[in-house]
C-alpha cells in the first residue's frame, strides 16, 4: 500500500508506551529530528530504543534519555553521550551492546524474514558470551538473532507521492535497513515530489517498506 502523509505530531501518536522503536542515524546525521521532538511532547515512555547511538547530551535521542523515556538501549556506540553511561550505572537504563556490523545485519535479517544468522564477528570475545558458536570451514561463527521493532523512525531526503525514498550522502546509514524491520515505518523527509519525479534506478527504499511520510 502506498504511504500516508501526516504531520510528525499525528504520526508519533501511533507509538505506545513500552514499544520497541528503531531510530536511524549515525551520530546526529540521518536522525529524524522532527519525529524525535514530536514524541518528546507525548506522554509515551518505557521505550526500548534500537539505534546505533543515543545522541549527544541533550541532542537527538539524548533528549528522550533526559526525559526518562528510554528503558533499554540496543546499539553499538553509546560513548558519545555520557548521559548513557550515567543512567546505566544508576540502574535507570538497560544497555545491549552489539558490534555495529552485527547490529546492521540483525536489522536487515529482521526485515527480510530471517530469524538468525551466523557471523564471524565477536567470536572469542565478551560480546559472544552465552551465544551459540559454530565452526564452518575451520572458522568460528556466532549465532545472532534478528532484530525487529514495533515502529521505525527514519530520515530520508526525498519521498515521492507513493512513499519511495532517496537519501542524502552519509545520512543514509541505518535508515534503509530500519525501514524494512518494523511493523510501522515512519519516514521524515525534507521534500515530497510527484510520483515519477525520482529516477526509478536511484530509489533506495521502495514504498512497500514505508507506511507514513512526514515533512515539516
Amino acid at each position: 500500500m502506498p504511504a500516508k502523509f501526516e504531520t510528525p505530531r499525528e504520526a508519533v501518536r501511533r507509538i505506545r508506551s513500552g514499544a520497541t522503536v528503531m531510530v536511524g542515524g549515525f551520530g546526529l546525521s540521518g536522525v529524524p529530528v522532527k519525529l524525535v521532538d514530536a514524541l518528546l511532547e507525548t506522554p509515551v515512555g518505557d521505550l526500548t530504543v534500537i539505534s546505533n547511538n543515543i545522541g549527544t547530551p541533550g541532542g537527538g535521542l539524548g533528549k528522550w534519555l533526559r526525559a526518562g523515556k528510554i528503558k533499554k538501549a540496543i546499539g553499538s556506540y553509546f560513548t558519545t553521550n555520557p548521559d548513557v553511561g550515567r543512567a546505566y550505572l544508576e540502574g535507570k537504563l538497560e544497555v545491549q551492546l552489539m558490534p555495529q556490523g552485527t547490529f546492521c545485519e540483525a536489522i536487515r535479517a529482521g526485515g527480510s524474514g530471517i530469524a538468525a544468522f551466523y557471523t564471524p564477528t565477536a567470536a572469542g570475545t565478551d560480546l559472544a558470551a552465552g551465544k551459540e558458536v559454530r565452526e564452518f570451514d575451520g572458522k568460528l561463527y556466532v549465532l545472532e538473532r534478528a532484530l525487529r521493532a514495533d515502529v521505525a523512525l527514519i530520515k530520508a531526503y526525498k519521498a515521492d507521492e507513493l512513499g519511495n525514498l532517496v537519501y542524502y550522502k552519509t545520512a543514509r546509514n541505518f535508515n534503509p535497513l530500519m525501514a524494512m524491520a518494523a511493523d510501522l515505518t515512519i519516514a521524515e523527509v525534507d521534500e515530497v515530489v510527484p510520483a515519477g519525479a525520482l529516477d526509478p534506478e536511484c530509489i533506495v527504499t521502495p514504498h512497500v517498506f514505508v507506511d507514513i511520510v512526514v515533512t515539516g
Partner: protein, 227 residues
C-alpha cells in the same frame, strides 16, 4: 627525543608503507587517521568509512563542511570523483565479505598470537564497540599502528591480552615507533627495528615472545636525536 605527537606521526608514516597501490582501506581513529597523510607517491588508496561511503575525500574547509557528509569519526569529509554512498548493512558486508584490502587500527594490546584488544578498559564502563570487531575480522590485512608501550611504560605487545578482546588471531602487522612485527603462520616475527634502539631495550619493552627475521632490517625512524 621526539614529542608524543611526533611519535604518533612516526608510527603513521611507517604504517602507510604497508599499503599497496589500489588498496581499499579503512582507517581507524587516533594514529591510523594520520596515515593518509603519508601514503607514498605512486600509491593510490581508496578510503572506505563504515558509515556508508567509499572514496572518502579530504576534510573540507570549515565553511564547506556538510554535517551529513562525515566519516566514522563524525568528522566532515568530501566527495571524490567516483564516491559512492550505501547503507550501513552493505558497508559491513564489504568488511565481513573480505572486500576491504586493509585496515589500520590502534590497539591497547596485541598478543603474540595476534589477538587484539582495542575497545574496553576494565574498571571503566565502556558502552561503545562500534565497528571495530567487524573490521578486524573482515579486512584482508589488519595493520595495528600503536605506541610500543602504554603511557605508564607497560608493554602493549603481550603474551596474552589481559583486556577484553576485539578479535582473536586477526592481527597481521604491528607497527610501533620502535619496530615492525609481522605474524607469520601464527607466530610473531620482528622484521624491522629503529636505529635509535638496541635489541635488548626492545626486548625489555616487549612482553610478547617473538622470533627474529634474518637479516633484521634496521631503519632510521627519526632524523633528530631520539634520546
Amino acid at each position: 627525543m621526539p614529542t608524543e605527537e611526533q611519535i604518533r606521526h612516526i608510527i603513521a608514516r611507517r604504517a602507510a608503507l604497508e599499503l599497496n597501490d589500489g588498496d581499499v582501506v579503512n582507517l581507524g581513529i587516533g594514529i591510523p587517521s594520520l596515515v593518509n597523510n603519508y601514503v607514498p607517491p605512486g600509491v593510490r588508496i581508496h578510503l572506505h568509512s563504515e558509515n556508508g561511503i567509499l572514496e572518502v575525500g579530504p576534510s573540507p574547509s570549515p565553511e564547506k563542511a556538510d554535517p551529513n557528509l562525515i566519516n566514522a569519526s563524525r568528522q566532515p569529509v568530501t566527495e571524490l570523483p567516483g564516491t559512492s554512498y550505501f547503507d550501513s548493512g552493505l558497508s559491513f558486508a564489504m568488511m565481513r565479505g573480505g572486500h576491504i584490502d586493509a585496515t589500520v587500527i590502534g590497539a591497547l594490546q596485541v598478543s603474540e598470537t595476534g589477538d587484539i584488544a582495542s575497545w574496553a578498559v576494565p574498571g571503566k564502563t565502556v558502552l561503545g564497540v562500534g565497528g571495530a570487531m567487524d573490521l578486524v575480522v573482515g579486512a584482508k590485512r589488519v595493520i595495528v599502528a600503536m605506541q610500543h608501550t602504554t603511557k605508564e611504560g607497560a608493554p602493549k605487545l603481550v603474551p596474552r591480552c589481559t583486556l577484553p578482546l576485539t578479535a582473536k588471531g586477526e592481527a597481521d602487522v604491528v607497527v610501533t615507533e620502535h619496530a615492525v612485527f609481522r605474524f607469520r603462520n601464527g607466530r610473531l616475527v620482528l622484521v624491522e627495528i629503529g636505529d635509535h634502539i638496541d635489541l635488548d631495550t626492545l626486548r625489555r619493552l616487549t612482553a610478547a615472545n617473538f622470533e627474529m627475521e634474518e637479516p633484521l632490517r634496521v631503519v632510521s625512524r627519526w632524523e633528530g636525536d631520539w634520546k
